[in-house]
Symmetry: C2
Subunit: 356 residues, 2 copies
C-alpha cells in the first residue's frame, strides 16, 4: 500500500462473508487435490490415504460477544461450546470423534469455574461420543473458548450445501426461534436486575424451554445418526446457527436453486410464541432471523423421507429453480422475497436488529 | 461444592500444569484405545484405521498477553502464529499438513490488517508445507488468534518426551535466548517511546537477529525433515517454547531420568550476548529461562548423531540416572541443581521474573 494514501476498510463494511473472501484471497488460490472442501463451508473435508475423509471444524465463544457470564452458568457454557462445534459437523452429515479446547482465562475466573466448565464439556462429550485429546490454556482479558472437533466418514456420506435440486422438499429438524426467545428473556431479566437492584425477583421459571435452548442448545448429532441407521441421506444440508433465512440463502447459492418457504408451517414451540406475544414481537422474525437454533435445515427428494419417523422433521417449503429466487409465502398464496439477513458477528447486516 | 463454604482457587495458585491436571480430571479418565497420546504432550496422537497416526496441536496468541501490537507487525504475527503451532508438531517429529485459523477481531483492526496477517500465515504455509482449510471469524475485545495444525505420520516415527535413556547425549538445534533478548530490546524501546514522545528515535537496527527471532521465529520443521532424510530418530524430543530449563525437566520427568547440562556449551548468538551485556544481565538466564526459542531439544545415542551434519545441532549435556537429578555444570567440574522454572502463562513460578 502507498503509505501516503492509506485505505482502511472496517471489517463491518465487508461483513463476515466478505472478510472470509479477503482472507482466502490473501492465502492464495492453490489447494492440494486431497482438500475436498476448504474455507467457506461448515467444515473442512480432506481425503485420506484409505479413501475415507477427515472432516474438521472450529468455533469460538468469547465473553461479551457470544455470552454474558451473568446469565451463563459455566456448565451450560461448556455444553454449548461442544454443541456449536458438533453442529458444524452434523451440518456435513458427519459424527464427531475428537476435540481440542483452547482456553483464554481472565483473572476473575477460578479453577472451580473451569472445572465446572469442563464438566459441561464432558456432558457434551458423553452425549455426542467425543473425546477431548488436547488443547491450550493461556491467560486473557476476557474468557475465550475455542474448540476444534473432527471425525472421519466415507466420502460419499458427506453432505454439502450444494446438492439441492428443484422439486426437493425443504425440511427442518426440531423447532425454530426458541434460542432467540430465550435470549430476549435473559436480556430482559438483566435489565430488570440493573433497574431494580435488591428488589429484583427473577421471573425465569415461566420459560424453562427457551432459556435452556439458548444456554445449552443440543446439536442434532442424534438426527444424523438416525438418518444413517435408516439409510437416509439428504441432498443438501446445513445447520441453523445464523437463522433460517440466512441458511436457506446459503443452500440456494451453493446449489444454484431457489426456494419457497411456507411460513405457517414453521415449527414453533408454544413457549417461543408466548415470549413473542409477551414482547409484542412477530414470532416469525424469531424463526427466520433469530439464530443459534442448531437445528438442521435439509433438502431431500420427498419419497426419501419415507425412511424417517415423521415426527423428527417438518417440511417447511420446496426447492425451486434459481430464477424464482427465495420467497416466503405467508398464507393466502402470495409470496414475497425473503431477506437474506441473519446474525452477523460484525453487525453489517441491515436485519441484524432482529438478532441483538 | 457446599454453597455455604465456597472454596475458590486462583489459577495462578495451581499454575498451568496444575490447571491442566484439574481439567483432565473433570473430563474423566476414559480414553479410547486409539488415543495414543492425549492431553499433556505437545500434540495429541490418534491411531487411524490404516495404521498411521493423526497428530494434532493447537496454540493461541492473544493481544496484551502474547504480543504487543505496537511492536508486532501483522505479517510477523501471522508467521509467528503458524510457527508456534508447527513447532509443537516438530516436537513430536511430525511434519504439518493442514491448519485452521480462529480469529477474534477487535473494532480497531481493519480488513487490511487482517490481509497482512494472512499474508504472514501464508508465508509460514509455504515454508512448512501447510494448507489452511478453514477457520472461524468473530468479533472480540482484543485481537485473538488461535490455530490448529495437524498431520499424519507412521506411528513408530513419532517421538515422545519419554524415550531418553541414561548415557544419551542432550542436544539442541540452533541457538538459545535470542527471542528473549529481542523482547528485552523491544520492551526497552517501548519504554523509551513512552518517555521521550516526539523525540523518540528507534534504535532497533543494532539488533536485527534477536528482534526477528522474537517477532517471527521459525519452527524447526526443516530439522525434522533433514532427520527423516538422514534416517535419524531422536530417543526423546520437545520444542523449546517455555525455556531450556523447563523443557529439560519435562523430558527428565517423562523419561524418568536425570540430566547434566554443561552451561559453557550452550549455543548463543553474538547479538544475544551483546543484549545481555547491554542490560548487565547473565546471558545464561536468557538461554535457560527466556523461552520462545522454538528450537528443538532432543536426546540420542551419540553414535546415531553420525548421520547428521554436525553444524545443525549442539551437544549441551548428557542424560543420567533419575536419582542424580537435573544439574548444571558452570565449568570447573562443580554442578548445581537446575531450577525447573520457565515461562508460565499464569505467573505462579518463582523463576518467572526471568521471563517477564
Amino acid at each position: 500500500m502507498d503509505p501516503d494514501a492509506p485505505m482502511y476498510t472496517d471489517v463491518s463494511d465487508v461483513g463476515e462473508f466478505g472478510l472470509i473472501a479477503h482472507l482466502r484471497d490473501a492465502l492464495g488460490p492453490d489447494l492440494p487435490d486431497d482438500v475436498v472442501t476448504g474455507i467457506g463451508d461448515d467444515a473442512a473435508v480432506i481425503r485420506q490415504s484409505d479413501g475415507s475423509v477427515h472432516v474438521h471444524t472450529t468455533d469460538a465463544l468469547i465473553e461479551g460477544i457470544h455470552f454474558d457470564r451473568t446469565f451463563m452458568p459455566m456448565e451450560h457454557l461448556g455444553f454449548k461450546l461442544i454443541s456449536v462445534n458438533v453442529s458444524d459437523l452434523a451440518a456435513m452429515n458427519v459424527s464427531p470423534q475428537y476435540a481440542t479446547v483452547t482456553l483464554g482465562i481472565p483473572k476473575n475466573i477460578t479453577v472451580e469455574h473451569l472445572r465446572t466448565l469442563y464438566e459441561g464439556i464432558q456432558k457434551g462429550c458423553d452425549a455426542y461420543g467425543v473425546t477431548v485429546v488436547g488443547g491450550d490454556t493461556t491467560s486473557a482479558q476476557a474468557l475465550t473458548l475455542s474448540m476444534n472437533v473432527w471425525g472421519t466418514a466415507e466420502e460419499d456420506a458427506v453432505v454439502h450445501r450444494s446438492g439441492a435440486e428443484p422439486g426437493d422438499v425443504l425440511c427442518v429438524t426440531g423447532d425454530l426461534g426458541a434460542s432467540y426467545a430465550g435470549l430476549k428473556i435473559l436480556a430482559d431479566e438483566r435489565n430488570r436486575l440493573e433497574e431494580e437492584g435488591e428488589d429484583f425477583q427473577p421471573a425465569l421459571d415461566a420459560f424453562p424451554y427457551v432459556i435452556r435452548r439458548h444456554l445449552a442448545p443440543p446439536a442434532q448429532e442424534a438426527s444424523i445418526r438416525r438418518w444413517r441407521n435408516a439409510g437416509f441421506r439428504p441432498s443438501a444440508l446445513i445447520d441453523i446457527s445464523d437463522g433460517l433465512s440466512s441458511e436457506v440463502h446459503h443452500i440456494c447459492e451453493a446449489s444454484d436453486v431457489g426456494a419457497r418457504i411456507f411460513a405457517p408451517t414453521l415449527p414453533l414451540h408454544p413457549e417461543t410464541r408466548n415470549v413473542a406475544d409477551h414482547f409484542g414481537d412477530d414470532v416469525d422474525v424469531y424463526a427466520f432471523f433469530g439464530g443459534e437454533d442448531y437445528e438442521l435445515l435439509f433438502t431431500a427428494d420427498e419419497s426419501d423421507l419415507d425412511a424417517l419417523d415423521g415426527t423428527t422433521y417438518t417440511i417447511i417449503g420446496e426447492v425451486t429453480d434459481a430464477e424464482k429466487g427465495v420467497l416466503v409465502e405467508q398464507g393466502g398464496g402470495t409470496a414475497i422475497p425473503m431477506r437474506p439477513g441473519g446474525f452477523d458477528h460484525f453487525g453489517e447486516d441491515e436485519n441484524s436488529d432482529a438478532a441483538e
